[in-house]
Symmetry: C2
Subunit: 284 residues, 2 copies
C-alpha cells in the first residue's frame, strides 16, 4: 500500500517509520513545505520521496494529514475535493489533530465526507520536526476516532488496521466529547507549563542563578513548556470554549491554595493536598 504523509514532523514522521517497518506501507510519499524538514526527512529515510500535494493524493491509498490543526482544517477539505473530482472513491484521508470539533464542522457536508476519518493518536513528546520522529511512539497509547459514524465502514476499517499496526488502543467518541476531554487532560497541562516557565523566566531577569536549584520535579512540571507555538496556537483557539472553562476552574483552585496559605490555614492546605493526592488512584 502507498501511504501519503503530509507533514513529516514528529507525528507524521513517526507514523511513516513504523508503518513501513511493520510492513503496512510499501511506499511512503511525503509532502513537506519546509525545505529543511524535507531534506532532513529524506536523509533520515522517513519517506521514499517528497512530492507535491497533487502527486501525493493521486498515488496514495491513504493520506495522513499531520500538520498543525489550523492548516489541517482546510487541507482535509482540499483533499476530499480531489478525491471527488477524480472519482477516487477508494481513497481515504485521515487527520491526526489534537482538536476535532472544527475539522468535523468544516467537512460535515462535503460530498466525499465518508472517505475522511477524524483521528487523534494521543502520543507525542515536547520535541518537533523530522529529527523528533521515532519508532514505537504510538505503541500502547490511546487513539481517538471521532464521529466514526460519519465515515464509511470501509474507510473506517482501513484506518483501524493502520492504527492496529501502530499498536494503538482505539477509543470512539464524538468530536465534541473529544474536545472537552482533551481540554482537561492535555490542553490545560500545556497552558500550566507555559505559565510556569513564564513565571520563572521573569524572575531569572533579576536572579541569574535561579535555575541552579531546579529540581527534577520542576523539570517534569515545566517540560511541556518547550512545546511548539505552530502546533499549540491553533489548538488553544479552536478549543477556546472548553479551554477557557478549564482555565477558570484551575485559577479558582489556585486561589483556594493562595487563600489558605495567606491565612496560615494549615488544615485547609492539608485538605486541599489530600484531595489532590486522589490523583494517585488514576496516574500510576
Amino acid at each position: 500500500m502507498t501511504i501519503g504523509v503530509i507533514g513529516l514532523g514528529l507525528i507524521g514522521g513517526s507514523m511513516a517509520v513504523d508503518l513501513r517497518r511493520r510492513g503496512f506501507a510499501d511506499r511512503i510519499l511525503g509532502v513537506e513545505n519546509d525545505p529543511l524538514h524535507a531534506e532532513a526527512a529524506l536523509r533520515i529515510g522517513l519517506a521514499d520521496k517528497v512530492v507535491g500535494l497533487d502527486e501525493c493524493v493521486e498515488q496514495s491509498d491513504i493520506v495522513v494529514v499531520a500538520v498543525p490543526v489550523g492548516t489541517a482544517v482546510h487541507l482535509v477539505g482540499d483533499i476530499l475535493d480531489r478525491f471527488d473530482a477524480a472519482g477516487a472513491a477508494d481513497k481515504v484521508v485521515i487527520d491526526t489533530c489534537s482538536t476535532k470539533e472544527e475539522i468535523s464542522l468544516a467537512t460535515r457536508f462535503h460530498p466525499a465526507r465518508r472517505q475522511f476519518v477524524a483521528t487523534h493518536p494521543m502520543a507525542g513528546t515536547e520535541y518537533s520536526g523530522p529529527w523528533a520522529a521515532m519508532s514505537g511512539l504510538f505503541d500502547g497509547r490511546a487513539c481517538i476516532i471521532a464521529d466514526h459514524e460519519e465515515s464509511s465502514p470501509k474507510a473506517l476499517k482501513a484506518v483501524e488496521e493502520l492504527y492496529n499496526v501502530l499498536n494503538m488502543r482505539l477509543i470512539y467518541m464524538s468530536s465534541s466529547s473529544h474536545d472537552v476531554h482533551t481540554a482537561y487532560v492535555s490542553h490545560i497541562s500545556h497552558v500550566t507549563s507555559f505559565a510556569l516557565a513564564l513565571t520563572v523566566l521573569d524572575k531569572e531577569k533579576d536572579e541569574k542563578h535561579i535555575f541552579d536549584l531546579a529540581s527534577g520535579g520542576f523539570s517534569s512540571t515545566v517540560r511541556l513548556a518547550k512545546s511548539n507555538a505552530d502546533m499549540w496556537e491553533p489548538i488553544l483557539i479552536q478549543n477556546r470554549d472548553n479551554v477557557l472553562k478549564v482555565i477558570d476552574t484551575y485559577i479558582e483552585k489556585m486561589r483556594l491554595f493562595r487563600d489558605a496559605i495567606e491565612d496560615f490555614d494549615g488544615p485547609g492546605i492539608r485538605s486541599l493536598i489530600e484531595d489532590a493526592n486522589k490523583i494517585k488512584k488514576i496516574i500510576r
Copy 2:
C-alpha cells in the same frame, strides 16, 4: 562513624543506605515515631537499630534530622540543647528541610548553634516512607548549605564530607535566598500540580472516563500532586511570603493566556508560547 537518622523516610532512609554502602557510616541508629515505618525500615535494613531520641543523640557523631519542617524546627533546637547539656562539643546536627529561613531564626541564638549545619539536599521523588528510600537518590544533585558562616568550620567540614560521599554538588547561600529560589523552582511546581489534579478530579465527578485520554504530558505535569501533605503543608506555610508572591505572578501569567485565548488573539498566544519556550535554554 555512627550516624543518627531521625525520620527513616525517603530522605533519611536514602541517606542511610548510601552512607553505609559507601563506608561513611559504620553504624546507623534510626529514630522513627511511626511503628510501621520503624518496622519496615529495620526489615529493609535502613538502620541497625531503632532507638529513642536520647540514645540516638548520645551515641551518634552526626545526627541527621529528616522529618517534615514543622517538626524539624523544634527538634534541631532540642538536639542542640542536649549537645550543650552533655558538653558534647564534637557532635554535629543537620536538617534536610525544604525551607530554611524559619529553622535559621529558631536556632540563631542557641549557644550550640555552631554545631548545627542547615542543609537542603535537593533530591526526591513523589513517594514517601521507608519503602521509597533508594540508593543513588542524591548522586549529582544540588545540595544547599544555608548560612554556613553560622556553623563552626569543623562541623561544616564533617557535613561537606558527608555530602561528598553522597555525590552532591554543594551550593552555599543564605537561608533567605534559599527560600526565594525554592519558591520559584520547587514550591510553585507542587502547587500548580495540586491545582491541576483538583481541576481534573472535579470534572471526573461528571465525566467518569476523563482519564482514559490522559497523555504522558498530563502525567508528567500532575506527577507532583501525589506529594505528601505532612511534608508540604509546613513548607507552604513556612515559605508563605515567597510562595504567595510566586503564585500571584503565576496567576497573572495564566490570565494573559486566558485573555489572549478569549480574544482569539493568535499572535498574542504565539508570543506567550515563544517566550515560554525560552525554558529550553535552561532545562535540557
